[in-house]
Symmetry: C2
Subunit: 430 residues, 2 copies
C-alpha cells in the first residue's frame, strides 16, 4: 500500500509535536485514512541539532527546495513561522500541486485570501486550524459546525501569554511588569513580548476568525488594537468591586451588514463564560442568530496541542485525497467588507477618574456625559485618605464610540479633574 508522504518546513516545538503524533498515533491515522502516513523530509536551520524526537526515517535538509520540489511529497506542513519568505515557499509548493497545512497566523492574517486562491486554482487543500487558538478546533466549528447559522458576535481570549499575565495579576495582586518577568522565566512569554502584550498576536487571530465567521475579507489593518501594558492593579481591583474580570478580548461584532473587529483589555461580567477562562488557556465565544451562545475552550499554544490541530488538518487533507476531492473546501467570502465607523460602534465603558474633592465636581462630570446623551449605570466615589482628592469610577450604559471620545476629551479639559486614570470597554451582555 502506498503511503502518504509529508514534508515539514520547520522542526521546532510544533514540528517535533507533529512528528511525535504521526509516529504515536499511526494506528488511528491509518484506520481513518486507509494507508500509512510518514514524515519524509524536514527543512531545518541546522541538521545537527538535537531535537528529542525519533528522526531515524526523516531526511533533514537546510534547503527548502529539497522539500517543496520533492515529487514524492504530497503534503507540506509549514511550522517554521515567518512571512514573506515563507509565503514564497508555500506559493511554490501549491504551484507544485502540494497540499498545505500551516500553523502560521501571521501569514494567514496577511496573505490568507491570496494563498487560498492559489490553492484553489491548483486543486489543492490549504488548511490552517492551528493558526488560531492552538488545539481548539474553532475554525472547523465556524465553517462546518455552525455552517447554517448567521454568526453575529465572536469574542476571543486568543492569546495565552496575556491571559496568563492578567490571571496572575488578578489572583495575586501583582503588577504587570512583575508578572511579565515571571511569565518570561516560565517560558510563557517571549523575551521580546511585544507581539503578545501589545495585542498584535490576538489581532491576527481575530482577522482570521472574523474573515471566516462573517464571510468577509477582514484584513489585519481593519482590527483596532490595544494591548495590556497599561493595565494597573488598581483597575483590576476596582473592576472586581463592580463584578467585572479583566481580560484581553478580541471582539468581532456584526450588526446588519457592518462589522467591527478590535482587540483591547476589556472588563467582562464575572458570570460570562469567558470570565472563567484562566491562566494560559484560550477560548472563543461565538454568538449565532439561531444557536445562541456557544464557547470553545482549550490550550491556545504548546507543542502537542498545536500539533494536534496540524495533524487533524492532515487527516482532512488525506481523507480528501482518498476521495479525490481536494481543493474544494475553501468558501470564498460572501460579502463585501463593510466596517463600522466610530459613529456606529457602541459599547459600555468603565472609567476611573482622579478629582479634587470640591463642590460641584460630580455635577460637572455627569453633565458632560448627559450632554452627549450617554447615561450612567454605576457610580462609585471614594475619598483618598490624606489628601483633598477622591476617585470616581463610572460605568456607562451603551455609548457611541465617537461620543465617548468627545467625553474623554472634555473630561480631560475639566479643571477639577486631576487625571483620567483609565477607561475600558465593558462586555458580557448580549
Amino acid at each position: 500500500m502506498k503511503s502518504i508522504s509529508i514534508g515539514l518546513l520547520g522542526l521546532g516545538t510544533v514540528g517535533c509535536g507533529v512528528v511525535k503524533i504521526v509516529q504515536n498515533h499511526q494506528d488511528k491515522l491509518m484506520h481513518q485514512i486507509g494507508c500509512p502516513v510518514e514524515v519524509k523530509k524536514a527543512l531545518v536551520l541546522d541538521v545537527n541539532k538535537e531535537r528529542g524526537v525519533d528522526l531515524a526515517r526523516i531526511v533533514l535538509t537546510e534547503n527548502p527546495h529539497d522539500v517543496i520540489s520533492d515529487s514524492e511529497i504530497d503534503i507540506i506542513v509549514e511550522v517554521m513561522g515567518g512571512i514573506e519568505e515563507t509565503k514564497k515557499y508555500l506559493m511554490e509548493a501549491l504551484s507544485n500541486g502540494k497540499h498545505v497545512v500551516t500553523a502560521n497566523k501571521d501569514l494567514m492574517a496577511l496573505y490568507g485570501p491570496e494563498l487560498l486562491a492559489k490553492a484553489s486554482a491548483n486543486q489543492c487543500d490549504l488548511f490552517y486550524e492551528a493558526s488560531v487558538a492552538g488545539g481548539i478546533p474553532i475554525l472547523r466549528s465556524l465553517v462546518d459546525g455552525l455552517a447554517s447559522d448567521r454568526i453575529t458576535k465572536m469574542m476571543g481570549i486568543v492569546n495565552g501569554t496575556t491571559n496568563f499575565i492578567l490571571t496572575k495579576m488578578s489572583k495575586e495582586q501583582r503588577s504587570f511588569l512583575d508578572v511579565l518577568k515571571e511569565a518570561q522565566d516560565l517560558g510563557f512569554a517571549e523575551s521580546d513580548p511585544a507581539a503578545d502584550v501589545e495585542g498584535l498576536d490576538a489581532a491576527r487571530k481575530m482577522a482570521i476568525l472574523s474573515t471566516l465567521g462573517f464571510s468577509m475579507d477582514i484584513h489585519l489593518n481593519d482590527v483596532k488594537v490595544e494591548g495590556i501594558t497599561k493595565v494597573s492593579n488598581e483597575d483590576i481591583v476596582y473592576a472586581k468591586q463592580f463584578g467585572y474580570v479583566m481580560k484581553l478580548i478580541g471582539i468581532a461584532h456584526r450588526q446588519g451588514e457592518k462589522v467591527e473587529v478590535s482587540v483591547q483589555p476589556t472588563l467582562l461580567e464575572e458570570d460570562h463564560p469567558l470570565a472563567s477562562v484562566h491562566d494560559e488557556y484560550n477560548a472563543v465565544y461565538v454568538y449565532g442568530e439561531a444557536v445562541g451562545e456557544t464557547m470553545f475552550y482549550g490550550p491556545g499554544a504548546g507543542s502537542l496541542p498545536t500539533a494536534t490541530a496540524v495533524v487533524s488538518d492532515l487527516v482532512g487533507v488525506m481523507k480528501n485525497m482518498r476521495l479525490g476531492v481536494n481543493g474544494n473546501s475553501a468558501v470564498l467570502p460572501q460579502f463585501e467588507k463593510q466596517l463600522k465607523s466610530d459613529e456606529e460602534i457602541q459599547a459600555k465603558y468603565f472609567i476611573r477618574i482622579l478629582i479634587e474633592d470640591s463642590v460641584g465636581v460630580m455635577a460637572n462630570i455627569t453633565s458632560i456625559f448627559a450632554s452627549h446623551g450617554v447615561s450612567l449605570e454605576k457610580i462609585l466615589q471614594k475619598p483618598l485618605s490624606s489628601s483633598q482628592q477622591a476617585e470616581i469610577v463610572l460605568v456607562t450604559h451603551g455609548a457611541v464610540q465617537k461620543d465617548f471620545t468627545c467625553i474623554i476629551e472634555e473630561l480631560t479639559n475639566l479643571h477639577s479633574i486631576q487625571s483620567i486614570k483609565s477607561y475600558y470597554r465593558v462586555e458580557g451582555e448580549i
Copy 2:
C-alpha cells in the same frame, strides 16, 4: 439550477426550527452549496394544526411513505422522535438512496451502528450532530477536529433539564421536588421527567459520544446510570464547603484498552471548567493525550439551537452531493469493546454519614477504609445540635469501585452509624 429537496419526518419544535433556518439563511446556504435548497414535504400527525412557520410551499402529509418514497426528495430529516417505527422509516429511506439527518439520540444510542452500516451500503450519508448537546458541534469536533489525537476522557453535562434543576437547587437552596415543579412550569422539564432526572437521556448521549470518542461500539446498556432524584440540599451545602459543585456528569474514561462509561450526580472541583456551566446549558469536556483539556459549551436543546445542528449536517450532506462523495464519512469502530470491571474502575468519593457521637466511632470508621487500602483526603465532623448525633463527611483518595462498595456495606453494618446519608463520585483532577 436544480434545487435540493428535503423531506421532514416530524414538524414539532425542532422541525419548525429547521424550516425557519432553511428559509431565513437561504442566501448563506446557497453561497456554500451552490444551489437552492427547499423543504418539500413534511410528515405530521395533523395536517391542520397551526405551527407558526411559513408552510406555503411545503406539502404536509400524514403518510410517511409520501416522504420516504418520494423520488424527488434527496435528504430525509428525522425530527419526529420514537424508536422502532422511526428506525423502520429510516432504513427504508436509506434503501431508497436518501441521505438522512437525524436529531434522535434514543434511536442512535440503540441502533446507530446498524443504521450507519445501512447508510454506508447504500452510499448514503447519515449525520446526527443534533442528537448530542443540541447546538454544540461536538460530534464533528471529536471526529474531525481531534481526529489525530487519542481521547482518553470525556465528561459531559449533556442534559439541560437536570443542569437547570441542580443550578437552581445550589443557588437558591431549594429542594429537588420544588425546583422540578418550577422547571416543569417553565417548560424546561417534561410532565413525565423520568428520562431526564433518572439520567437515561444523558446515558444515551454518553453512549453516542463514547462510541465516537473511543472508536468502540458502546451500547446504551454499557452505561451505568444514576439520576439526581436523591440529591438533597444538605449534600450540596456540605459539598460546597469542600469546594465542590454538584452536577449530573456523564463520564467516559479510557485507560489502556479498557473503558468505563457512566452517568451519575458527581461532585466537581469548583475550578473545573465544567463547574461554571450553569442553568440549562450543556458542555462536553474532552481530554486528549496530545491536546490536553478542551471544552465545548452551548445550548443543549431548544428549537433553533438544535435546528442549527440539523441544518449544518444538511450542509455537510449537500457539499458531499456536490462532490459526489456521499457515504464515505462514517468511520467504523477501530477497537473491540472492552469494559472495565468493578475492580478496574477507580474514583474519589464523597460520603456523608450520620453517627452516634460516642467514643471510638471515628476510629471504627477510618479503620474500615484502611482495611481496604483506601486513604482519606478530607474529613469533617460536626455535632448536630439538640441530639447525641454528629455528621461526618469524608472524601477519599482514589478508590477501586469494588473496594468502595465493600466499605459502604461494612459501614452500613456498623452499630454506631445511624445512616449513610449519601455518597457521590468526585471528579476534577486529571
